[in-house]
């Protein structure tokens, strides 16, 4: 079995060393690839100097572009599983084995490292948005529950690698989860703890979150009914 740890990084010069060194020192058995998504800071320089294994995208393509590159990398080199860890150090690689165990036990196609599987969501602006998306998925999939819809820590199997790498609509976002659930793809969650990001700013800033919610709700409530269903 071949597992790839994919680390999308956009302007993560302050965090990337900590993340990659933490992974390679404690878990040398995993292959990894950093995807530098056209960063304008020193992310590329650091990756090159430290001899990290990295894909260097010349222009910024956004998170879904970075994920697509990573998935194509995994497909090209014949990996069976891909786990996504964010480049900001929020995700602890010690949970990778938990995610993998869950996938083997349940036969799931996607396993999400979830902050809210067993624990309740805190009440703040961002979490209200998250709960709305959870509800939208719950309604459109006849009662399937995903607690942490926006979690960036996910394990994919080979079937999902192909789909995420080659389909225009497969963004690494909650709307894809809703669509996949309706295709009969199995998605489960594992409770994890996440760190606060060490430095820098998140991919999703507050300004764009209204547009983000609009996109997701349109996609989950309307567009997914017009997409071709590829059976899981």
């Amino acid at each position: 079995m071949k597992l790839l740890v994919m680390i999308p990084a956009y302007n993560e010069a302050e965090n990337i060393e900590h993340v990659v060194d933490g992974l390679t020192e404690r878990y040398p058995q995993y292959d990894y690839v950093v995807i530098n998504d056209g960063s304008t800071d020193d992310t590329r320089k650091i990756c090159a100097l430290r001899n990290y294994n990295f894909l260097d995208l010349p222009v910024n393509t956004g998170l879904s572009g970075a994920i697509k590159s990573g998935m194509r990398y995994a497909n090209y080199y014949g990996y069976d599983y891909v786990v996504q860890l964010d480049g900001d150090g929020q995700h602890d690689p010690s949970y990778i084995s938990d995610l993998f165990q869950e996938m083997e036990q349940t036969g799931a196609d996607i396993v999400i490292g979830s902050r809210f599987k067993d624990e309740p969501k805190p009440l703040n602006f961002r979490m209200i948005g998250s709960q709305i998306l959870t509800a939208a998925i719950w309604i459109t999939t006849k009662g399937k529950y995903i607690g942490d819809v926006t979690s960036g820590m996910r394990l994919f199997n080979k079937k999902m690698i192909k789909r995420f790498g080659y389909d225009i609509h497969y963004s690494p976002e909650p709307d894809t989860l809703a669509y996949l659930l309706n295709c009969g793809v199995r998605i489960t969650e594992v409770q994890v703890k996440m760190h606060e990001r060490a430095a820098g700013v998140s991919y999703l800033d507050f300004k764009s979150s209204v547009w983000y919610m609009l996109k997701m709700l349109f996609s989950i409530l309307l567009f997914q009914w017009f997409r071709k269903r590829v059976k899981g």
């Binding site: 010349p58 609509h169 709307d175 996109k215 309307l222 567009f223 017009f226």
Partner: protein, 128 residues
Amino acid sequence: MSTNLRVLLLFAALLTAGWILYKIRKLKVKMEDAIYWVVFAGILCVMGLCPEVTYWLSGWIGIMSPANFIFLVIIFLLLEKIFTLSILVSQLEEKVTVLSAEVALRNHSAEERLKKLEKENEEKRKEE
């Protein structure tokens, strides 16, 4: 507002929505780009279904004929689309420029490294 105009509006709304949803199905357009056209179809639909709204709004602005108001709304919506598209094209052009510069640069550096390696190999062979 004549019934014919209302029917025409509804027909246009249906066609727009149907076409863009078909394009989504055929993987030809990103879903986020389709939102605009669905909203556009929705506005045409509202103007066709509830002429009272159109009458009230055109009266409020001071346009005699609601048909003119409908033209105005459509022109406004299309202008907005042209505006955002124009910005997008600029950004894409810039991206292509950067992309080709980077591809050329990286090719160059890879070729330089290859030449250097070949030279070193040749020198080694001569020494032997």
